[in-house]
């Protein structure tokens, strides 16, 4: 007998029967007829003696495959029938249809990055502080060791309302405002908008900064390093390489710029990091004694460190955004990605 042909016939027979089957008994009957002890498959197996010994293993394997296939099909058909029954047998529900919902709006990526930064700082015990966006020349410059004519004013071309009123170019004036009101120890951070007169792929006339300040007796540059390394690792992932290199800010001494290992090339050097393998993320330093004198803290008693970072820069690094102007264009194609 041609058992291959016979198997094929069995399979199509089962399919036909399954298509008509409705109730549980129907499936039971089909199962009996084909897979039961006296069933068709069993019958075929009994015929193994007629097969030449060398072909017997192949034959056995094939029969078992067919058996498995039929079992699966019957089970599946029976399960479907059952669920149809459960729904009342009437119209079927397509649960792949989209849910009915009111799509939520998106939170701006700057807010998202800012939240993450603030959360880390809160965990480190920093408390939020606030200050005006329109500042006096005194708070924005003079009190931060940037007198009129100081070369550092060239670094930040500012927007003026008049000779004495300026849109703050940094969140650092909040340091002065807080120190004027509170005595050490203090540990604060100040997020907010800042303004500089500049516009290109990496500059917009308005952007966001977060300022941090920790003042107490015995705060050192070592502490600055420890705290900011912890901060960078929380923000960019454990094991992120962090380096501190000397820089200049009028209101800190010594000053440092903090870099993290380039996330794109892993330090190998690429276009994003200008082949250096490092990406600058923030500026920091030990609070200049001149600031302490100005707010009547004794520089011989207290030391402190301050840091400032650009939120756009952090968001660009985290999300891989290459043009800062996109943040303020507010195109939905952009906003919907975050």
């Amino acid at each position: 007998m041609d058992w291959e042909k016979k198997l094929g016939e069995l399979e199509s027979q089962v399919s036909e029967l399954l298509a008509q089957a409705q109730k549980a008994e129907d499936f039971f009957r089909i199962k009996q007829q084909f897979l039961g002890k006296q069933g068709e498959i069993a019958g075929l197996l009994r015929g193994i003696r007629e097969i030449s010994p060398e072909l017997r293993p192949i034959f056995g394997q094939r029969i078992n495959q067919a058996k498995q296939l039929l079992e699966d099909r019957i089970a599946e058909a029976s399960r479907q029938a059952e669920s149809r029954q459960a729904r009342g047998g009437g119209e079927t529900q397509d649960l792949t249809l989209p849910g009915v919902w009111n799509p939520p709006g998106r939170i701006h990526p700057i807010s998202q990055a800012l939240d993450e930064i603030c959360e880390i700082l809160e965990d480190l015990g920093f408390q939020i502080a606030d200050g005006p966006e329109i500042e006096t020349d005194f708070y924005n410059f003079e009190a931060l060791n940037i007198p009129k004519g100081h070369p550092a004013r060239e670094m930040q071309d500012s927007f003026y309302i008049d000779d004495e009123i300026v849109l703050r170019t940094q969140t650092s004036p909040v340091q002065i405002r807080v120190m004027e009101k509170q005595k050490p120890p203090l540990r604060i951070y100040a997020p907010g908008r800042v303004y500089r007169r500049d516009m290109d792929v990496s500059h917009t006339p308005m952007f966001h900064q977060v300022e941090g300040l920790w003042v107490d007796g015995g705060i050192t540059f070592s502490d600055l390093k420890g705290v900011l390394m912890l901060f960078a690792e929380r923000l960019f992932g454990e094991g992120t390489p962090v380096r501190f290199r000397p820089s200049f800010f009028p209101f800190t001494e010594p000053s440092a710029e903090v870099d993290i290992g380039c996330r794109i090339c892993r330090g190998e050097g690429c276009r994003v990091c200008g082949n250096s393998g490092w990406l600058e993320i923030l500026g920091a330093g030990m609070v200049h004694p001149g600031l302490f004198r100005r707010v009547e803290y004794d520089p011989a008693e207290y030391t402190g460190f301050a840091f400032g970072l650009g939120v756009e820069r952090i968001a660009m690094l985290k999300f891989g955004i290459n043009d800062i102007r996109l943040f303020f264009e507010n195109d939905l194609h952009f906003l919907k990605q975050f």
Binding site: P98, N102, P103, P104, G105, R106, I107, H108, I110, S111, D115, C118, G125, Q127, I128, A129, D130, P132, E133, I134, G149, P151, M155, F159, Y160, I161, Q182, R187, I188, R193, M199, P205, M206, G218, T220, F221, S222, D223, K225, G226, V227, M229, R243, R245, P246, S247, F248, P250, E253, P254, N275, M286, H288, P289, G290, F328, N330, D331, L332, L335
Partner: protein, 808 residues
């Protein structure tokens, strides 16, 4: 600033470190190297061109302008006929062997030139395809090995570092300064190039006179005179060096002064001395009405009181900023007056600002050059000019130096170093660092401190802490161990209010995004005319806006949102819901009043067409009740109570479809409504736009309800409906009030369940309303009788007050 490693080697003869290492060391020393630019292999297509040395030069027997040279290319010597004026024995050039291919003209063959064999060719820049300069053959550095293929040589020609010099370090705006730093950071030998001057017999005072009339603004003025210079092109090496550091070659004199500026950091100026009237140089302030044509050939009216260089008659240069055209060095110039000065930084900044001119010179003067380096640079430039332009140097130099200061001294208390840095650095190490930096440190009597003499080029060092930074920088920030100060929270000065206000803003953000609004951030400055759309009154203007349309600090967030809507409409989005959290700004009332900054949230919803959706959930046209519902939703989420919406005209909104939002009936906390058509037209927005703006500061400080528990009945209430026709001028609010007040004890709520105003079944001027009233007693389950009685009272009240017709 561009720094050439080749030029650095003038000061650091042993500098052999790989450029990447040099860049790393500089960066970690505070001089961030932003880019490393190898002077690239010139893929000229030349083959068979090698470095070679000319070992002998003789005149061609048959031709005046030709030379017969012996050239050593490392494999042997070749006889070559050459016509270049600059070929000299001992110099190294690029040599094309016989069989070589050069970009400009095919293959080099053996030739016989006027009877002399020539085996190869010495090449000019033009022949090498580097530039269009074919005035002579290209000289290469004398320490280059011979026999190196041109294409391999290229990558080694030079490396340029783009160095970011912070404003406190003007001493490093030169190769000298960077070399000095590198010598400290690498521990490399630092040499000062030797200056040898051959002076003429005639004393400088015989021809030139300097009158320093503004000693405050110019504490030191020096000069030299050179007679009989020959103006021409600079030698190749000089052109090349200037080109690599980003400078254009002008002529040999100007190039020499420029070169010294980048080499030593001291700006110089050369005047055509024959044009200086009376041979007299005056350093004085400009007077009203004086004019000067600067070398950019622009005639400038000089603001009075800025520092100028003048001759007897008129200004001839803007001191420290830019020279004048009349005394500029030109082809026919023979005698020059070479100026080297120290101008007061403040004075140069003023001139620069007043004339809106800046130059490499003014940049350095404005930050402060080394007052003791003035004569060194002058002599170096004189030497260079004599070398490349000839001439005779008048004996001696003018040095007018009324402003000489004694060297500054700082005392560093050594324990301070550890107090600031947190790491113990042995005093010997500090001493060594200062010595290498060129400071003169001396131990104080008791050994607890160092008295340090500050060199004249480090005017940035003013306080002991500046010295601590020097120690940290040279010692290496990387070597300072990170530590964590005690992280115990210090809650004594907890900024509770700021914390809560910040969180309030965050909550507002979450609530609006939950309502389908996307957050945007727009600029705080808008155009003055936009600023008037939604509010009258004074605004704050920026005196130096970035561009037109960004001149006023916004009084409202709405114009920014309108721009966002318009932008996204152009991008074909059709469901537009946006909000922004941010500040608005107003001048304070009265003279000394503070500027008012208010935290606000504003939002906008526009829908072009119903979005396609299989269940059409959002298919309803967005209208003012949707907007109001969203706001009510947010108010509930913010725990804000006692908020009411009142129809009243709002600037920039459609009358009748807009109003104010009040807290406690007294404080206006916002506005809402349909944006006026004229405003939409202005922004080219076609679809209807609904908008709101809220004052978060007032809401935050006043509106938040305190939560308090009150007991509630444990038995069920009942709902009865009432429907009626009423005059359409009667408002929902009025009707609902009457219903609720019909029995304050038993009526808990009344919900509008139907409103119909169509033509059928309702007579003109009337509307049909249906309310569902919720009855609940505080102490028992209400019977039908009880409810019927109250329900009847409701109907009676409505009839009496509003003459409603109850529908049965």
């Amino acid at each position: 600033m561009k720094i050439s490693l080749n030029i650095l080697r003038k000061f650091l003869p042993e500098l052999r470190n790989p450029s990447r290492e040099i860049a790393e060391v500089l960066t970690m020393g505070g001089f961030e190297v932003e880019e490393i630019i190898p002077v690239k292999a010139h893929s000229s297509g030349a083959t068979g061109v090698v470095t070679a040395q000319v070992t002998r030069v003789e005149k061609h027997p048959q031709a005046d302008r030709l030379w017969v040279c012996e050239v050593d290319d490392g494999q042997g010597t070749h006889q070559v006929v050459c016509g270049a004026p600059n070929v000299k024995s001992g110099m190294k050039y690029l040599f094309a062997r016989v069989g070589a291919k050069i970009p400009s003209g095919g293959e080099i063959k053996k030739a016989r030139i006027r009877g002399v064999d020539s085996n190869g060719m010495l090449l000019s820049r033009a022949e090498l395809g580097i530039s269009d300069d074919h005035s002579g053959i290209m000289e290469i550095h004398n320490d280059t090995k011979i026999g190196i293929d041109f294409n391999e040589l290229d990558s080694d020609i030079d490396v340029i570092l783009e160095v970011n010099v912070t404003p406190n370090r003007p001493d490093c705006l030169s190769h000298l300064g960077i070399a000095r730093e590198l010598s400290v950071l690498l521990g490399a030998t630092f040499v000062v190039p030797e200056i040898k001057l051959k002076e003429d017999d005639q004393d400088v005072s015989q021809s030139a006179r300097v009158r320093l009339l503004a000693p405050e603004a110019c504490p030191r003025y020096c000069g030299r005179v050179i007679h009989g210079v020959k103006i021409g092109q600079s030698p190749d090496w000089l052109k090349k060096d200037l080109e690599r550091i980003g400078q254009r070659s002008i002529n040999n004199i100007v190039d020499a002064t420029n070169y010294v500026l980048f080499l030593l950091g001291q700006p110089l100026h050369a005047f055509d001395f024959s044009r200086v009237q009376g041979g007299e140089i005056q350093i004085r302030e400009s007077q009203a009405g004086e004019k000067l044509v600067t070398i950019d050939h622009a005639e400038r009216e000089l603001p009075p009181g800025i520092l100028v260089i003048a001759d007897r008659e008129k200004p001839i240069a803007l001191a420290g900023v830019m020279g004048g055209a009349e005394t500029e060095v030109k082809d026919e110039t023979r005698d020059i007056f070479l100026e080297s000065a120290w101008f007061e930084p403040r004075s140069i900044r003023q001139s620069s600002k007043a004339t809106k001119l800046a130059s490499e010179s003014s940049l350095r003067f404005a930050r402060g050059v080394d007052p003791e380096g003035v004569t060194v640079a002058l002599d170096y430039a004189a030497m260079l000019i004599l070398q490349i332009a000839g001439g005779k140097l008048a004996r001696g130099s003018i040095d007018s130096y009324p402003g000489k200061k004694s060297a500054g001294k700082l005392f560093l208390n050594l324990p301070e170093v550890q107090r600031v840095l947190g790491v113990s650095i042995p005093p010997e190490e500090s001493l060594r660092i200062f010595t290498r930096l060129g400071f003169r440190p001396e131990k104080s009597g008791d050994g607890s401190g160092l008295e340090i003499t500050i060199p004249s080029f480090r005017q940035d060092l003013k306080e002991p802490v500046d010295l601590i930074e020097e120690i940290a920088r040279v010692y290496g920030y990387g070597k300072i161990p990170p530590t964590l100060p005690g992280l115990q929270a210090d809650q004594r000065q907890f900024n509770a209010r700021e914390r809560k206000s910040f969180d309030f803003g965050k909550k507002v953000r979450e609530l609006f995004s939950g309502q389908g609004f996307s957050q945007v951030i727009t600029y705080s400055f808008i155009s003055s005319s936009e600023n008037q759309i939604f509010s009258e009154g004074e605004e704050l203007k920026i005196s130096n806006p970035l561009s037109e349309g960004m001149e006023a600090m916004r009084k409202s967030l709405l114009p920014g949102l309108l721009n966002t809507v318009a932008h996204n409409l152009r991008r074909k989005f059709n469901d537009l819901r946006f909000f922004e959290l941010g500040r608005t700004f107003r001048p304070g009332a009265g003279k000394k009043a503070e500027i008012q900054e208010t935290n606000r949230v504003a939002g906008m919803a526009a829908r072009v067409k119903s979005p396609d959706g299989w269940r059409r959930l959002l298919a309803q046209e967005f209208d003012i009740y949707h907007l109001k519902g969203i706001l009510e939703n947010v108010f509930v989420g913010l725990d804000l109570e006692n908020i009411d919406f009142r129809e009243m005209p709002q600037r920039g909104f459609e009358p009748g479809l807009s109003g104010g939002i009040f807290w406690d009936s007294r404080f206006e906390v916002g506005q809402f409504g349909l944006i006026a058509e004229s405003v939409r037209t202005r922004y080219e927005i076609e679809p209807a736009v609904f908008a709101f703006e809220l004052d978060l500061d007032t809401l935050f400080s006043r509106g938040i309800r305190s939560k308090k528990f009150s007991s509630f009945p444990r038995h069920p209430g009942v709902e009865w409906d009432i429907a009626f026709f009423v005059d359409h001028t009667i408002t929902y609010d009025e009707i609902r009030k009457v219903i609720l007040e019909s029995d304050r004890n038993l009526i808990k709520d009344a919900t509008l369940i139907d409103l119909y105003r169509g033509k059928e079944q309702v007579e003109a001027g009337k509307k049909s309303l249906a309310f569902r009233i919720y009855y609940l007693s505080p102490d028992h389950t209400l019977t039908d009788e009880e409810v019927r009685a109250v329900h009847r009272r409701v109907a009676d009240n409505l009839r009496r007050k509003f003459s409603v017709a109850i529908r049965e």
